[in-house]
Symmetry: C2
Amino acid sequence: MTTINDIAKLAEVSRSTVSRYLNSNGYVSEEAKKRIMKVIEETGYMPSQSAKSLRTKKTGVIGVILPKISTETASRVVSGINKVLQQNDYQMLLTTTSQEHKKEIEFIRLLQSRNVDGILLLATNTEKPLIDAIGNATVPIVALGQDIPTISSVIYPDYLATGEMIEYMIQKGYQHIGFIGVEEYDPAVGIERKRAFVDTLTKHQLKVNKDWIMQGDFSIESGYNSMKSIINSGSDRPDAVFAVTDQIAVGAMQFLKEQQIQIPNDIAIAATGASRLAQYIEPSLTVIDFLNEEAGAIAAELLIEELTGTKAIKKIIHDYRLLVRNSV
Amino acid sequence: MTTINDIAKLAEVSRSTVSRYLNSNGYVSEEAKKRIMKVIEETGYMPSQSAKSLRTKKTGVIGVILPKISTETASRVVSGINKVLQQNDYQMLLTTTSQEHKKEIEFIRLLQSRNVDGILLLATNTEKPLIDAIGNATVPIVALGQDIPTISSVIYPDYLATGEMIEYMIQKGYQHIGFIGVEEYDPAVGIERKRAFVDTLTKHQLKVNKDWIMQGDFSIESGYNSMKSIINSGSDRPDAVFAVTDQIAVGAMQFLKEQQIQIPNDIAIAATGASRLAQYIEPSLTVIDFLNEEAGAIAAELLIEELTGTKAIKKIIHDYRLLVRNSV
DNA sequence: CTGAAAGCGCTTACAG
DNA sequence: CTGAAAGCGCTTACAG
């Protein structure tokens, strides 16, 4: 392998000079420059990043921790992150927890031992062990999807957007609205969205029927089963159901279709998540779009800011929009 | 930051001993072991990977090059890769070319300067510059999705599977079959699938109608536009169309639905790609499933094999299955 | 069973 | 404008 020493020898300069040339700092005479350029060209030399980072303590690598890669939401976020990182000459080290919480902590440590310059955490909880691990970290961490008090976070407006969607459903005339959520260790998805649901119904003096409130787990199957439970619960049927993710909604719709229950005439469905599946399913799904790709990009920008100086903790409530389609 | 020197001092041994302990090679007395363990525990020490790789020339990082992260096919492949890599204590450095070919070459170089131990390439072409870049690489590269002659490759059975699907369509009674493909710089998707289409029709003495053969670009829109062109081509309508990806098929179906053309009664649709979208769209799409996650896992295993000895070039024709649903 | 020494490929003051 | 020297945090023969 060609090293900086080889280049120095071939170009008849010292390796300090080559280094200066490579990093464009300090003076290098035009002549030296030319010789170095030529030699680098000929040899195809590329500096060793390992050696460089050992000296500079910078790797140009950002660690990304996410629960699961193979959901459309996740892949959009990653796409946004990647775009910004690439523009700023950072590389992305991707780790996935397969939805196991403790792994978030493990990866925070692991990524640091890999000397990443910063970490982007798509958090699914805000429990103490995680907060502690973040506190002990020596590199900047930016959270996406949860508000983690101690660090900069890009937060989805879960409460606000869900509230608006429920308002929309009520305006459309639905009075008996059900809800399929997820476990509450996840504050953003599990608690906030449910709270908005309950608050909005209450505000309109509509009944919150426990038989119509289910807890799934992000999967299509759990949406299917939750809807089944709602329909078979013994109480009257709701005339509309809100699902906290589009995956859950797709499962719920599947069950309704099997039962020949018309959407939206018999039961309307709305959800969070602007996947292509939600768009092309029939009827097309009315959803909250959290503009995930953009959110990923913003989180990446926030992290890069912290890397280049700013130490302030920023909280960004991300934008959203309602995509009104045919399921409500 | 705690380094191996700090640990050595605190545990009252030399750093060689600490290193031996960390890598479990060479002898370390029980007593020394205990002291070292304790100190590491207390300090939360993690060895610097940069320093380690500078010495050992191994980083434990695998570079992955893919055209686009936000397609379901890609994210499944990545998921499979990630699983195997994680099991083997490798990390994944992810780069995306945004479908720009030259970037594949750029990234092969870039990843090497990052001292990755190996590269997994989801190739979209097999042109000379790429082959050359691969030839010049100093680390093992495994290709997925294209047969790259000089290196181990996991290849989708494009010709075989497409042929079987066309056979299936013919058996179902369709005689006027159209085709929506992609550009031919991509041998696997652009050439092989088309060749299978033409050969199978020819074998059954069916006419290959040029007006029914379109070229899209992997996007839903291009599927939409291609189907539009087929319908408006002036010649008779086909009674079935095969699309080389499910995305393209979804666009094509969209157009047919807008025109009130019944699927599959008026025109049947089949495609390659087992996305959830293909599954839940109506009618559900009959597709070839290339088991992408498994393919990713196999490619990763192949690469790890090469990393640990075996230098033989292996070609693996991956498995596939037909998912017969309601669109044909 | 253990430690001293050399070296991996860089960068960075410093002296000239 | 340029080079010699030190050092980043590890591992690895080698000698004991």
